[in-house]
């Protein structure tokens, strides 16, 4: 593989892994705190799935760099500084209330479903195989979170207002998912990655009616000032928590 292409692919795989790992971590913060026991179990499983998906993309990233696919993902998660993470800042925002977390998960699940459906036809066989694999699990996520969006949107005055507040806060951040990385054009050209503009079109066509029918008003699209290379202050706090043990015991193993 040519160097340009390899660098571009490594960067994209890292961004995909970071999306899943950071969201998985935020989701896991609900473990033991969800509003009801059933939901605690469900959301902890979703968190586990996302972290599993991160491992898949990190492993492909590691193989490309000639690193060990089993141990390198831990290096990436536990030993990188905030500036080296490449996820969309949307995913690092504090978990907020239940409405906020459910809505963010739904926005991301749907983005991921569209992306994975397109990646299933990727010219890169490993990526296509992983996309099919992960895509099947995402069907369960989407079913779950879209139901919550509907339920809270059409529920009580309070649940609707919490959902609307969450949407107003999250909507400016969703565009971060669709902004291409510098090497993406190279990947699109050779059929490894879909055009993110196309992904956004499909995503919007699905998400807008669902939100509207859930009695939620879609805000004007004012993009956030954050990107995959420019994060909010919340990432450092998140990593303080996620990397705490490794920082205290750098040589520890378990």
């Amino acid at each position: 593989m040519e160097n340009d292409l390899k660098d571009a692919l490594a960067a994209r795989l890292l961004a995909m892994g970071d999306d899943e790992a950071i969201l998985g971590h935020r989701d896991s913060e609900w473990c033991g705190h969800a509003p009801i026991l059933e939901e605690d179990i469900a959301f902890a499983n979703i968190a586990l799935d996302e972290i599993g998906h991160a491992q898949v993309w990190y492993a492909l990233h590691a193989e490309l760099l000639g690193e060990d696919a089993a141990s390198y993902p831990d290096e990436l998660v536990y030993r990188r500084s905030a500036g080296a993470f490449r996820h969309a800042p949307l995913l690092e925002l504090p978990k907020g209330d239940w409405a906020f977390s459910m809505l963010r998960q739904y926005l991301f699940d749907l983005y991921e479903s569209v992306m994975l459906a397109k990646l299933a036809d990727s010219q890169n066989e490993s990526i296509a195989g992983a996309a099919i694999r992960i895509g099947r699990e995402e069907i369960y996520h989407r079913r779950h979170t879209q139901t919550w969006v509907r339920r809270l949107g059409l529920g009580t005055e309070e649940s609707n207002s919490r959902m609307q507040t969450a949407l107003d806060a999250l909507w400016p951040h969703v565009m971060e998912l669709f902004r291409p990385l510098s090497g993406d054009a190279t990947l699109i050209e050779v059929g490894i990655l879909p055009n993110l503009g196309d992904v956004q079109t499909v995503w919007e066509a699905a998400i807008r009616p669902w939100l509207t029918e859930s009695n939620l008003a879609i805000p004007e699209a004012i993009p956030s000032n954050y990107t995959r290379t420019h994060h909010t202050k919340h990432l450092a706090t998140l990593l303080d928590d996620l990397q705490e043990v490794v920082r205290l015991y750098p040589e520890g193993s378990w």
Partner: protein, 163 residues
Amino acid sequence: MVAPMLTEKELWRVLEDVKDPEIPVVNLVEMGIIRSVTREDERVTVIITPTFTGCPALHTMQGDIATRLKQAGFSDVKVTVTLSPAWTTEWITEEARAKLKDFGLAPPPRHTGDFELVLVESAACPYCGSHNTRINNTWGPTPCRILYYCDHCQQGFEQFKPL
């Protein structure tokens, strides 16, 4: 140590001793988790695929396979994980389905690729056989299980999630 003279077919039989760590009544062969076993001189290579990508039992499975093959006399064992082709509940054998049911875990419904369709059908209760059942949660104690409740015999039960 010289590796024993076992054919690949016999190796498959040895691997039938390796149980699913979370559902000990079925083995990894009949669950469709072990995809291939090949032998090259002293080395045995086993390829497995996870039921769910985040399956926490994956490392245990890898270790259990290596341990069983070492017991059978192979010192050079390699267990690798593949994601493609993606595991599906359609690979679970009929025999394993019957074992799951006896274990109290409703077997996953058959599907032809679009498993979202079968999710709207009610599962048969593994205890009384009634279809008067409903989903309580699409996740259970592990990612691969759905929690159901049987309104006929008034018992909760789990179903292996169709995938």
